[in-house]
């Protein structure tokens, strides 16, 4: 693992993005990104497509000039350097392997560009080949490899230089589900063994949560939240982030009663024929429009229909997912809710549901802000 003390040349203590922004043809793709990356950290930039995460990565790599802001490697400003002078490794979504070079020559390319002695190039290339277990394929052209093998070559090519920062742009999105899981473990294992500082772009929240030390959630080019996987998983800062982090059930309701003040106050929310107790994530007062968010796995099926926080609903769609079922139910008011349960439910079953107060997060809705998923399909069914 890298320590601050005997850092090899090119290594840094921290990398600071200072108000980084990028415009394309008058449209903001990335606005005011402030982020400090510590050496050895694994950062995931997370967000839906078009949120600016790839723009941020390309700005970091030097493939896109910044419109505003600056990037600092310790006390050295680097956003004015071209990509080839930054010494960052990058793994592209399309892998971008050189099609006319063998696996070995692909991996050796960066070492040769550094004008290292021939013996060292050879030694480190072989190390790289071994690191991603491609010894048998080292003399093949990329076109003769499978997607997963190409991905491994791309990773080896980037990390063999021992770059001060590795950038990965959705590296797993072109792989099938099984390979994706394997490569995810492999990337995590590489990060643990080499300790390379990594910035990883993805739209897959599960991938980001499982890989990263810290996550940066972006939306419309703006940072929504920066935090550890636990923080993001448990407490998204707004309902957009909640939506993205797997809170599939978002209900627009009204705050009826607030006990306590500020964050963590107990809020009673009402609407659509329901009254539920939840936890405020920000200051909420009675009468406010709010969004109540809950994960499917936190919606529980219970026997008794009486008691607090009860929702009566009818099962509509059941998806078999091994030990559990993913179930879509509909409330009397026509609101679709998603839940996961081990009970063997069938379409048409009447069920009573409950949500723990701590698991129902209540987000204030700004005046005029569009509510998530309004009850449109209630009319059609």
């Amino acid at each position: 693992m890298s320590s601050a003390g005997a850092a090899p040349p090119g290594r840094f203590g921290e990398l600071r993005l200072d108000g980084v922004g990028r415009r394309f043809a008058g449209k903001d793709a990335l606005v005011e990104l402030d982020l400090t990356i510590r050496a050895g950290e694994f950062i995931a930039l997370l967000g839906p497509s078009g949120c600016g995460k790839s723009t941020a990565l390309n700005c970091l790599a030097g493939l896109l000039p910044l419109t505003t802001g600056s990037i600092w490697q310790d006390e050295r400003r680097i956003d004015t350097l071209p990509a080839e002078k930054r010494g960052f490794g990058m793994v592209f979504q399309s892998y971008a392997l050189f099609p006319h070079m063998s696996v070995r020559r692909n991996i050796a390319f960066g070492l040769q560009m550094r004008k290292l002695p021939r013996a060292e190039v050879r030694r480190r290339t072989e190390e790289g080949v071994r690191l991603v277990q491609l010894e048998e394929h080292a003399d093949k052209l990329p076109g003769q490899l499978s997607g997963g093998q190409q991905q491994r070559v791309a990773i080896a090519r980037a990390v063999v230089l021992e770059p001060s920062l590795v950038l990965m742009d959705e590296p797993l999105s072109n792989l099938d589900a099984k390979l994706r899981l394997e490569m995810r473990t492999e990337i995590r294992r590489l990060h643990q063994s080499l300790g390379l500082t990594t910035v990883y772009v993805t739209h897959d929240q599960e991938e980001a949560l499982s890989l990263a030390d810290r996550l940066v959630v972006l939306r419309h080019g703006r940072v929504q939240q920066v935090g550890t996987p636990e923080q993001l998983h448990a407490r998204p800062v707004n309902w957009h982030v909640a939506d993205f982090m797997g809170f599939r059930n978002l209900m627009e309701l009204e705050a009826a009663h607030v006990s306590g003040t500020g964050v963590d106050a107990e809020v009673a929310v009402r609407g659509e024929g329901l009254t539920l107790l939840g936890t405020a994530t920000a200051a909420v007062s009675a009468g406010d429009r709010v969004v109540a968010a809950v994960r499917p796995e936190d919606v529980l099926v219970v026997e008794d229909a009486g008691g607090d926080n009860r929702i009566a609903a009818t099962v509509e769609v059941v998806e078999y997912q091994g030990r559990e079922l993913a179930v879509e139910v509909r409330t009397a008011a026509g609101r679709a809710l998603h839940l996961r349960t081990e009970r063997r439910l069938a379409p048409g079953d009447e069920v009573a549901l409950t949500v723990e107060r701590e698991r129902l997060l209540v987000y204030p809705l700004a005046p005029g802000e569009q509510a998530p998923a309004p009850l449109v399909d209630a009319v059609t069914t």
């Binding site: 790599a61 030097g62 493939l63 071209p82 990509a83 080839e84 930054r86 010494g87 960052f88 490794g89 990058m90 592209f92 399309s94 971008a96 392997l97 050189f98 099609p99 006319h100 390319f109 960066g110 560009m113 550094r114 052209l141 076109g143 090519r157 980037a158 230089l161 950038l167």
Partner: protein
């Protein structure tokens, strides 16, 4: 004989026919092949037959043995030299067209404002006939043309520079008419190379010369070879400009001109056909050399989409 009789298909004729047509269809032989018929007829009538006729004619001179026309061509230095004159024009012109296209196309492969206009300007010479180009060259580069007036007026030379009615006139004409073809072809080859390959090379520490030399050029080389072949063939059959802006009696007496003179001034069709055959053979030789070199290059996917 008896063996084959024993081995005939046990099932009688009826169900065998669909099986045969199915097997043929799997090898790509079915009725859609009939769509090729017009093209095959066209090639046969307009290429194979005239070529065969010319070949036959070249071996049937009015006097002497079957090789007399070839002997006449190769034994006469005035005739023989036309090969070198034509190669001396076509090879440098094709090379220049290809080499000049590469940097321009390289700069123009991305999107930028005014790209369409620039492309039009670069491609317009295609639409100009050779005669119009020659006319323009005579007016512009001739002894009383703007160019020489400017050169003399600025005191760069005492007398007008001779740029037409010699080698250079034909050379300029070949560059003007051949460049757009080379440029368009190379632009499309370059656009087929995935730009993220160069980005990847940049993140690996390669500056732009290294990126061009190690990534773009090797991927482009097969395209360059093909483009060179086409540009060369185009330039090799030069005829009108050799007469109009060249010196058809001397330094630009090209093969096509020699064949024309044999046919329509000396009425020796056999010699003319022989010259045409020599022309074809030289072209094939050059193309074979280039393609042989090309076959040793990487020629697979260049990562581009489409």
């Amino acid at each position: 004989m008896s063996l084959t009789v024993e081995r005939t298909d046990p099932t009688p004729t009826g169900p065998r026919d669909p099986g045969l047509s199915h097997r043929l269809a799997e090898r790509g032989i079915d009725r859609t092949l009939l769509l090729l018929l017009p093209a095959v007829l066209f090639v046969a009538l307009l290429f194979v037959y005239p070529f065969g006729y010319g070949l036959q004619l070249s071996f049937a001179p009015a006097e002497g043995g079957p090789l007399a026309s070839y002997a006449a061509f190769f034994s006469d230095p005035y005739q023989r030299n036309t090969i070198w004159i034509t190669l001396g024009l076509a090879l440098p012109a094709a090379l220049l067209n290809v080499l000049a296209s590469v940097p321009i196309a390289y700069k123009m492969r991305g999107r930028f404002r005014g790209k369409r206009l620039l492309t039009i300007v670069l491609v317009v010479p295609i639409t100009l006939g050779t005669v119009l180009t020659a006319q323009g060259l005579l007016n512009f580069l001739g002894p009383a043309g703007w160019f020489n007036k400017a050169v003399v007026g600025l005191g760069l030379a005492d007398a007008p520079v001779q740029l037409v009615n010699n080698y250079w006139g034909v050379f300029f004409s070949l560059v003007i008419t051949g460049f757009p073809f080379a440029f368009l072809l190379i632009l499309s080859y370059l656009s087929g190379i995935d730009p993220t390959l160069e980005q990847a090379a940049a993140t690996l520490g390669a500056d732009w010369t290294q990126r061009f030399r190690r990534i773009t050029l090797p991927l482009l080389a097969p395209g360059l070879a093909t483009t060179f072949c086409l540009a060369f063939v185009l330039a090799f059959s030069v005829f009108p400009s050799a007469v109009l802006v060249g010196n058809p009696a001397g330094e630009t007496r090209v093969l096509a001109l020699a064949a024309y003179q044999a046919a329509y001034e000396q009425y020796d069709y056999s010699l003319a056909s022989a010259i045409a055959m020599v022309m074809g053979a030289v072209e094939l030789l050059v193309i074979a050399v280039v393609l042989l070199w090309r076959s040793r290059l990487y020629a697979g996917s260049t990562g581009g989409k489409g």
